[in-house]
């Protein structure tokens, strides 16, 4: 029941805002809907934790602890982002960048986007999952192009074409999977249902599944932003309105990776070769390397962090490729923290770009003098995203390294080097922009941002800190259940 409700809320939100999104109170309503969704995801997670997996809509919806985990992340980040976008949009409005009509479009699409992601996470039907993911693309394409600047249109076009093509491959993969499963589960509805597929995963035809898996990885991998399929990502992140950049890199990438994970379980079951793991490791490794090297040349602050997203997704993918309970836990933890921290960073970046009127790094200077709060937030976020303890990204990176050194020792030096370079470049840029506290008279701290500006940022960073210092034991149980439902056996 709650499972259906969780879809209904954002859907009605989308409808409502589609109708009355241009009204003054709309942003508040947006927050309201997002909060309700978040609350529902929490309830759902608790339900799942206590009563085990839920199934609804004649088995088309299915939530276990893995998906509930991602649901909570999605709900939470979506909620805080709605807060952020309220502030963001107000300031945009003061700058006279937007009309009520476009606000309406924005808000409606925002809810729609949340909806599609929730469907992806909650769907038991791989076909439905594909549909929802494609839907997410469509919803965000217009959001990316929302500012209507040439660059934005370019970016969203690129996004649309590349992701569209990619996702088409994934559909072919789905067809192949169906083709294989149909033999064991018989034609008709059940052959694409995860719950059923999992039961018969060992009997699926290996050759077909391996083909299918390749198509899946190439398809959904495009949306994860795995190198070399990543080229839409920096543009989309850079040109879209910042709240969208936040949810794109904080949520959409996660969701796409989630899809890959779901398929990987089947592939692992069907073919008794390390192929799926190797594939993921390869993609992850390449992504980390290229992303870290590419950062130095970035002149656009949002692109910079977009590349860091690529890197972190690569790390997570690598972790899942390595497999085993520790690495898998590390991967999940990494995704969780990354969504929190990266979106927090984008919140800060959004306001910084607004105050300094440009998102080109060379023209952003002396944030520390103008808006000390923001520069503090940015620096903290930067330290967190580059994996400095006590933020949880460090924990996951430690574990990933510890596992990688067993499975792929020869990759480890490169990974370390990549992490080092990333750290160097990011911190260098951040310091460059915050430009010390040169209290030059002409720069007086600008109109101080209200608490509302900062609380989403610090909430996220605080969570990341908490996960890194006092990881709650009950949460760990949920993670372990998630690991189990990823088909990894936890011994010892």
């Amino acid at each position: 029941m709650i499972l259906v409700l969780i879809l209904v809320v954002p859907m009605s939100g989308a409808l409502f805002l589609g109708l009355w999104g241009h009204k003054r109170f709309a942003s508040a309503v947006n927050i309201l809907f997002s909060l309700v969704t978040f609350a529902l995801t929490l309830l759902l997670a608790i339900r799942v934790d206590t009563q085990g997996p839920l199934i609804a809509l004649d088995e088309n919806l299915f939530v276990d602890s893995l998906s509930s985990l991602f649901l909570v992340i999605t709900g939470g980040v979506a909620a805080t982002t709605s807060f952020f976008s309220l502030r963001y949009m107000t300031i945009e409005g003061e700058h006279g960048h937007l009309t009520p009509e476009r606000t309406r479009l924005y808000l409606a699409l925002y809810q729609l986007f949340v909806l599609t992601m929730i469907v992806v996470l909650a769907s038991n039907n791989l076909g439905l999952l594909w549909v929802a993911l494609e839907g997410a693309t469509l919803a965000t394409v217009l959001l990316v192009g929302w500012t209507r600047t040439p660059a934005a249109i370019k970016a969203s076009w690129k996004y649309f074409i590349l992701c569209g093509v990619g996702i088409a491959q994934a559909l072919f993969g789905t067809i192949l999977l169906y083709f294989a499963s149909e033999k064991t589960l018989g034609p008709g509805g059940t052959a694409l249902l995860l719950t059923h597929l999992l039961t018969v995963k060992t009997q699926l035809e290996p050759t077909v599944i391996s083909l299918a898996f390749v198509f899946f990885v190439v398809g959904y991998g495009t949306k994860v932003g795995l190198v070399p399929l990543h080229n839409w990502l920096p543009d989309a992140h850079a040109e879209g309105p910042t709240p969208i950049s936040a949810v794109l890199s904080g949520l959409l990438l996660n969701v796409a990776l989630y899809a890959i994970l779901r398929v990987k379980i089947l592939a692992d079951g069907a073919l008794h070769s390390p192929m799926p793991s190797d594939l993921l490791m390869g993609f992850g490794f390449v992504s980390v390397l290229l992303a870290s090297i590419s950062m130095w040349k970035r002149q656009d602050i949002k692109r910079l962090f977009a590349y860091s997203s690529i890197e972190h997704m690569g790390l997570a993918t690598l972790a899942f490729g390595i497999g085993g309970p520790l690495a898998t836990f590390a991967g999940l933890l990494h995704m969780t923290t990354h969504s929190l921290v990266k979106s927090a960073i984008f919140f800060a970046v959004g306001h910084i770009v607004q105050t300094s009127g440009s998102q080109k790094i060379p023209s952003i200077r002396e944030i520390a003098a103008r808006t000390p709060g923001l520069s503090r937030a940015l620096l903290t976020g930067g330290l967190a995203i580059t994996g400095l303890p006590p933020f949880a990204l460090f924990a996951s990176e430690l574990l990933i390294m510890a596992e990688a050194i067993k499975r792929i020792p020869y990759a480890v030096p490169f990974l370390l080097l990549a992490l080092f370079i990333t750290f160097g470049v990011l911190i260098f840029r951040i310091l460059e922009m915050s430009g010390g506290e040169t209290a030059t008279p002409e720069i007086s701290p600008s109109r101080s941002h209200s608490r509302l500006t900062f609380f989403p940022i610090w909430i996220h960073l605080g969570m990341a800190l908490l996960l890194g210092t006092f990881f709650p034991a009950p949460l760990y149980e949920i993670y372990q259940k998630a690991i189990l439902s990823l088909g990894v056996s936890i011994g010892g």
Binding site: W157, K158, I161, L162, V165, G166, Q169, S210, L211, V214, V217, V218, T222, P228, L229, N231, L290, I293, S294, W296, K297, G324, P325, L326, A327, L383, L388, P389, P390, F394, A395, L398, L399, M401, A402, E403, A404, I405, K406, V412, L416, L419, F420, G424, I427, F428, L431, G436, T438, A439, G468, T469, F470, F471, A473, Y476, S489, I490, G491, G492
Partner: protein, 683 residues
């Protein structure tokens, strides 16, 4: 818990927490009540004093307590442990920081409140997390404390002047520190490998206890120890990862640079010793690694002191001399490993004890000297020795304290610097027990460099003291110099007293240090017979060499002072005073004195390979001749700039990937797909 609450560990922990709370609350309070700065600092110094005593207590009791706190990451809680090693370094931390905090109480008087609050909070953060480093007993919390310490030091540096140079220094510090901790992390990961399948191991395999159970192949062990060396070395200023140090320590405000040099470097030493002797384990170390460590240390000592002589800014000089001292400590450690691995536990223990002893000494006299340099800069408003001079007349008391520090760091008896270097030399002399020419000659090399370095140190610090404190004032600022405040003097006095005691009672110190070392080396030095008592330094009884700084001082004192007093007591008033003769050279002025660079000249000519010099000599015909010389650390042109260029080239190459054209991107996806499929199909 009641039994626990009595232990030093509990005490140290609560002291550290109190320290943190006081610091942060104090910083908050300062923004409202600026006048509270002094009392807050005093309170802090009391707390660090308490920390010192808890360390001392743990050391005397030789206690070794473990404690597991909730928190951290699941299955791996916060493991804490205070064993003698930890106690020793807590003692060091507390001892040095007490003086520094006392000093800051006076030093911050005429600073802007905001800056004071900044300094206060960052200092306490730094101290707290450094203490945590000493107490941590599992890889995760260790890394947490370690990295936050690094970040705190970064902020400490940034709390200096807000100039690009300072920011650059801070950035460089943070960068290299993080690179180092990545290596440490890798080494931890290496140690966490088990034969058991990875599904069995849980997070709990990252506690130090578990890590120390590792069974590595000889290669693996060597790799692990090398990683640790580089990782901790990056923070200890190990060559060639030292470039941040000479930039960072001068950049920071005085108390901060005292802490960075006096305490943080020691934290790195602590980490190295802990990692090598306990995690990798003595049984897995290689004697060749010992040799490597020793030779590196020796080279580092020489390099550091040579560059120190070239510096004209007091803080830079001190920073480079830190390199020298760290080099000496590493040398001792390596020597210890070499001896222990070749079955000579006694000299091994001696060498290691000497190294730790020297670490303690360095913490004291280096902090003292940095504070002294601070007072010099503060009193004159100049940062270059060439603009100081004659300070001893204006600030006789602090000058005397600095003189004490100078004697100590130059390893001149009867100071503590001499005591530890003496022990180290005695250890090197046992090389005749070694077999194999390579081992012996490497030890010989170590000894030769060590003595050379300490002789050079005397030269460097004669320059420091002579140009800074003696002679005539070299600038208006130096003319107007004033004695520093009482609190500052108290702080310096504390440190001076510390190094004096360490130097005069080396026997007692050695006894305690051996307590620290013997668990690591599983041997202890034989106790000297009672006849020698506490005033004696007799490491290898009965026939071994002995020395007694205390008696030496007594001897010279007994002979000298009576005459001194007698002479002055009778003649003082009646003595005629005249302008100095100076070979008849009348117009004495600051400019007629030898400049600071003139000390460096013979060194530059004698060891050219250690410097990369750019020299411009004017031709005889030159109408307006300009002589211009710039000396640089050769690691910049030879190592770092090329590396950076390489990185840039890589980045440029990576740019080719993003042509920005959709079709090209589509081709990427297409080819990826095709390649993967065909590999799958025909493989």
């Amino acid at each position: 818990m009641t039994s626990l609450s009595a232990t030093p560990l509990f005490f140290s922990l609560s002291t550290l927490l109190a320290l943190l709370v006081t610091g942060l609350a104090g910083a908050w309070l300062l923004t409202r009540r600026p006048t509270f700065a002094t009392p807050i600092f005093l309170l802090l110094s009391l707390e660090t004093l308490a920390l010192t005593f808890s360390g001392l207590r743990g050391l005397l009791a030789g206690s070794d307590i473990r404690l597991v706190l909730p928190g951290g990451i699941p299955d791996l809680f916060i493991h804490l442990r205070q064993d003698p090693l930890a106690s020793f370094f807590l003692l060091l931390l507390g001892g040095a920081s007490t003086g520094v905090l006392l000093f800051s109480a006076g030093y911050t008087k005429d600073m802007a409140t905001k800056r004071v609050a900044e300094l206060l909070s960052r200092t306490t953060l730094f101290l707290f997390f450094t203490g945590g480093v000493f107490l941590a007993d599992d890889a995760y919390s260790f890394m947490v404390f370690w990295e936050v310490m690094a970040v705190a030091s970064f902020f400490l540096i940034l709390s200096g002047d807000k100039t690009p140079e300072v920011r650059r220094a801070g950035y460089l510090t943070l960068l290299l520190a993080h690179g180092g901790s990545l290596l440490i992390l890798a080494s931890f990961a290496l140690l966490s490998i088990r034969e058991t399948p990875s599904s069995i191991v849980s997070l709990s395999s990252f506690s130090f206890e578990a890590l120390s159970q590792s069974h590595l192949s000889p290669k693996g062990a060597l790799l692990a120890s090398l990683l640790f060396l580089l990782g901790f070395g990056a923070k200890a200023g190990l060559l060639p990862l030292h470039v941040w140090l000479p930039l960072a320590h001068p950049a920071a405000p005085t108390p901060a640079s005292a802490l960075l040099s006096g305490v943080m470097l020691k934290a790195a030493i602590y980490g190295l010793i802990r990692a090598l002797f306990e995690l990798v384990g003595l049984h897995q170390l290689a004697s060749s690694f010992g040799i490597l460590l020793m030779v590196t240390g020796a080279f580092m000592a020489l390099f550091g002191i040579l560059h120190a002589i070239l510096q004209s800014a007091p803080k830079a000089l001190l920073a480079y001399s830190s390199l020298e001292n760290i080099g000496i400590i590493l040398l001792g450690t390596g020597l210890g490993i070499l001896y222990l691995k070749t079955g000579h536990p006694l000299p091994g223990t001696l060498a290691l004890s000497a190294a730790l002893f020297h670490a303690l000494n360095h913490a004291f006299f280096k902090s003292l000297l940095f504070l002294g340099a601070g007072t010099m800069i503060h009193a004159t408003g100049e940062t270059n020795l060439n603009r100081m001079g004659g300070l001893l007349r204006h600030m006789p008391r602090s000058g005397t304290l600095v003189l004490l520090g100078v004697l100590s760091i130059s390893g001149i008896p009867p100071t503590n610097g001499f005591a530890s270097e003496w022990l180290l030399l005695q250890a090197t002399l046992q090389a005749r027990d070694l077999s194999g020419t390579i081992q012996r000659s490497s030890v010989l090399f170590g000894a030769a460099i060590l003595v050379l370095a300490s002789a050079l140190a005397a030269m460097a610090f004669l320059k420091f003291f002579g140009v800074g404190y003696l002679g005539l004032p070299r600038s208006e600022g130096a003319k107007a110099a004033h004695e520093c405040s009482l609190l500052e003097m108290l702080g310096m006095g504390w440190l001076a007293l510390g190094s004096l005691l360490l130097g005069l009672l080396p026997g007692l110190v050695l006894k305690e240090v051996v307590k620290v070392v013997s668990p690591l080396t599983a041997t202890s030095l034989t106790v000297p017979p009672e006849a020698y008592g506490w005033a004696w330094l007799l490491p290898l009884p009965p026939a071994g060499p002995s020395s007694s700084p205390l008696l030496l001082l007594a001897l010279v004192g007994i002979l000298t002072l009576p005459v001194f007093w007698l002479y002055w007591g009778t003649r003082r008033g009646k003595m005629r005073s005249a302008p100095p003769w100076g070979c008849g050279y009348r117009e004495l002025s600051g400019r007629s004195q030898a400049s600071a660079e003139s000390f460096a000249q013979p060194i530059r000519h004698f060891f050219p390979v250690f410097f990369s010099m750019k020299r411009h000599l004017p031709t005889p015909e030159d109408p307006d001749p300009v002589f211009d010389l710039s000396v640089e650390d050769p690691h910049w042109p030879l190592l770092y700039r090329p590396l950076f260029r390489l990185f840039i080239a890589l980045a440029e190459a990576a740019e080719r990937v993003r042509s920005g054209r959709i079709s090209v991107y589509l081709i990427y996806s297409f080819t990826t797909l095709i390649i993967l499929l065909s590999v799958l199909r025909w493989h």
